[in-house]
């Protein structure tokens, strides 16, 4: 894209043919400058438009297109709060009770919330569930009557939205709807919108069409549940109460139960993950086709899994022809590898519940969970390098680059790849990032393992490892060619 300063530089070069005018241009004489600069500004703005109009026929690559796609598909920057078991030991001689909602902080300063009331008799201990989230109430006074009134949610810095309840002073509770389609007129409802700067807005409806128009001077209360997102459970040890209300509470010892993870926390989706989601041809959450299920499930759980794939009986019969039975009819199979092992049961439950909400045909008994098998993917890169490059350094560079993109537990390896990794993408990655391949005579060839003989199955998580990448480097001819670059 041509920027304004590039255009002006070029203009100055051209003006040097006319020294009198050039001198006046430099001095800023308006009779010379004004229209030239206006033209330059116009061309620069045109260049922006041209770049925007450049087609991305298949792969969305610009960050803003990806974000726009996420906004259109209603993917919100929402996090999942971590839930963990906490042991409370009462070392005092009086029974003590902590009510649900009491705040604790862990060793790293994150705020946790008791979601159960704990009654602890003296000299005993009890286990309760805590959640890494804070609840905040925000009041908002709608001063004007406006259809589709939008209120921007003011979230705390570095924390993500995890839940929201909206109510007004007349006692109406607004329910969340994903979009306005099929919402009755007059129903107390709201929907959430994200803008390109990832700010979340709460939108209310229009009594004439969908939802309810906010009346002037309605006092709204937003109860916002915020969380820090992902929590490394291996570093959870002791906790302490945020404030001590009764003297007896000072005798309580709080400790996270080891392996007591109930639900692992997850951050909102990052651009890399949104890029993957943007390649699905799905635009809403109505799951009809298999890819819709895959999209809807991935959207919700991809941040809690290293690998996640969902398939139906037709895919099952293609890949597991020997195993298929009558029981597989009308069933969905899910293979996933949770980020935290302890999260598996909760994730299974959450997944099944989510699939049921997408299509009630697939209730808990019609969704099978299948174990994930790790499968290293063999790649052979045969390269010819010009004599100036250091072979070992380039080998290491290639290996690190491939592992950073196609290594274990990365977004590029988090979904079912029936055809293995795309060699075109690999070669683009190599030419783009390895400078040794950017001269005129260096060359490389990529061979991937033959999957015709041993097809990749949906439950196989495919990735590259240090050993599965082999690199052969030979030297280009030292004599005979006089070309270095064009």
């Amino acid at each position: 894209m041509l920027t304004l300063s590039e255009i002006k530089k070029r203009l100055e070069v051209n003006l040097q043919e006319y020294p009198d005018i050039y001198a006046r241009y430099l001095a800023g004489v308006p009779t010379v400058c004004a229209h030239l600069n206006a033209l330059a500004s116009f061309l620069a703005d045109q260049a922006v438009d041209l770049e925007k109009a450049q087609l991305e026929p298949f792969i969305k690559s610009n960050e803003r297109t990806i974000l726009a796609d996420a906004v259109n598909k209603g993917i919100l920057p929402i996090a999942t709060p971590c839930q963990h078991k906490l042991r409370i030991e009462n070392k005092g001689n009086n029974p003590c009770s902590l009510s649900a909602g009491r705040l604790l902080s862990d060793a790293e300063g994150r705020i946790w919330r008791l979601i159960q009331t704990a009654n602890i008799p003296d000299n005993t201990s009890t286990i309760v569930v805590v959640e890494q989230s804070t609840l905040r109430h925000l009041n908002y006074n709608a001063r004007i009557k406006e259809t589709f009134h939008t209120v921007e949610l003011d979230l705390q810095e570095d924390s993500h939205l995890a839940g929201l309840t909206v109510s007004d002073d007349s006692g109406n509770v607004y329910t969340y709807c994903k979009r306005w389609m099929n919402v009755e007129a007059g129903k107390y409802a709201y929907t959430l919108k994200m803008d390109s700067r990832k700010r979340i807005g709460v939108e209310f409806g229009d009594s004439e069409r969908v939802g309810q128009t906010l009346q002037p001077n309605t006092l709204l209360t937003f109860s916002i549940l915020e969380t820090d997102g992902e929590v490394d459970v291996n570093h959870l040890l002791e906790a302490s109460l945020e404030e001590i209300i009764q003297a007896d509470e000072a005798k309580l010892e709080l400790e996270f139960v080891s392996n007591g993870l109930i639900r692992s926390g997850a951050n909102p989706l990052n651009t890399e993950q949104l890029r993957l989601l943007s390649s699905y041809p799905t635009y809403d959450d109505n799951a009809v086709l298999l890819s819709d299920f895959d999209h809807a499930v991935r959207k919700k759980f991809m941040n809690r899994c290293h690998y996640l794939t969902i398939w139906n009986e037709s895919v099952h019969s293609t890949y597991y022809p020997k195993d298929i039975t009558n029981d597989d009819i009308n069933k969905l199979k899910v293979a996933f590898k949770p980020k935290a092992k302890a999260d598996k049961d909760q994730l299974t439950y959450d997944l099944k519940r989510h699939i049921k909400s997408l299509d009630s045909l697939y209730d808990e008994s019609n969704v099978d969970i299948i174990d994930v098998e790790q499968r290293a993917f063999r790649v052979v890169i045969s390269a010819k390098l010009a004599p100036v490059h250091n072979t070992d350094a380039v080998k290491e560079e290639i290996r690190n680059l491939l592992l950073s993109k196609y290594g274990q537990n990365l977004t590029a390896t988090s979904y079912f790849l029936p055809d293995g990794f795309n060699t075109q993408d690999i070669s683009k990655l190599l030419t783009g990032h390895i400078s040794a391949f950017q001269d005129k005579i260096s060359d490389f060839k990529i061979q991937v393992e033959d999957i015709a003989e041993n097809p990749i199955k949906p439950h196989q998580c495919v990735f590259m490892t240090k050993d599965s990448i082999s690199i052969e480097i030979s030297r280009t001819a030292l004599s005979g060619a006089s070309l270095w670059t064009d």
Binding site: A27, G28, V29, P30, A34, A38, A40, A44
Partner: protein, 111 residues
């Protein structure tokens, strides 16, 4: 590269500036809305704002002395004033802008 602008050229520049409404060139705020000094209190002093904008738009004027660029006023009767923009030996009467695109003389069907 130093150049010397003739009086005639400086006059052309100033007239160009006075006759260009601000923001009429694409991508720049060049120009001045001369008409805004109408219907203002006759005792109001807005010359500094005017000169600051002038020096911003015509950067070569910054190389002159502080006194070389000034505005002179002349009282005509008790309810009328003339302003003159003076740069060195050049003196221009600031008058109502005639390049306005509003009013009955504007031809909406012009090509």
């Amino acid at each position: 590269m130093k150049i010397r602008l003739s009086n005639q050229e400086v006059e052309e520049c100033l007239k160009h500036w006075l006759n260009t409404k601000a923001h009429s060139y694409y991508g720049s705020s060049y120009g001045e809305n001369v008409n805004r000094s109408q219907f203002r209190p006759i005792s109001e002093n807005s010359a500094d704002i005017f000169l600051a904008k002038l020096k911003k738009d015509l950067p070569f004027l910054n190389e002159l002395n502080q006194d070389a660029v000034q505005i002179i006023e002349e009282n005509i009767g008790y309810d009328k004033k003339h302003f003159f923009l003076v740069v060195g030996e050049v003196e221009i009467l600031i008058h109502e802008s005639t390049t306005s695109s509003t009013g009955h003389t504007f031809n909406a069907n012009a090509f």
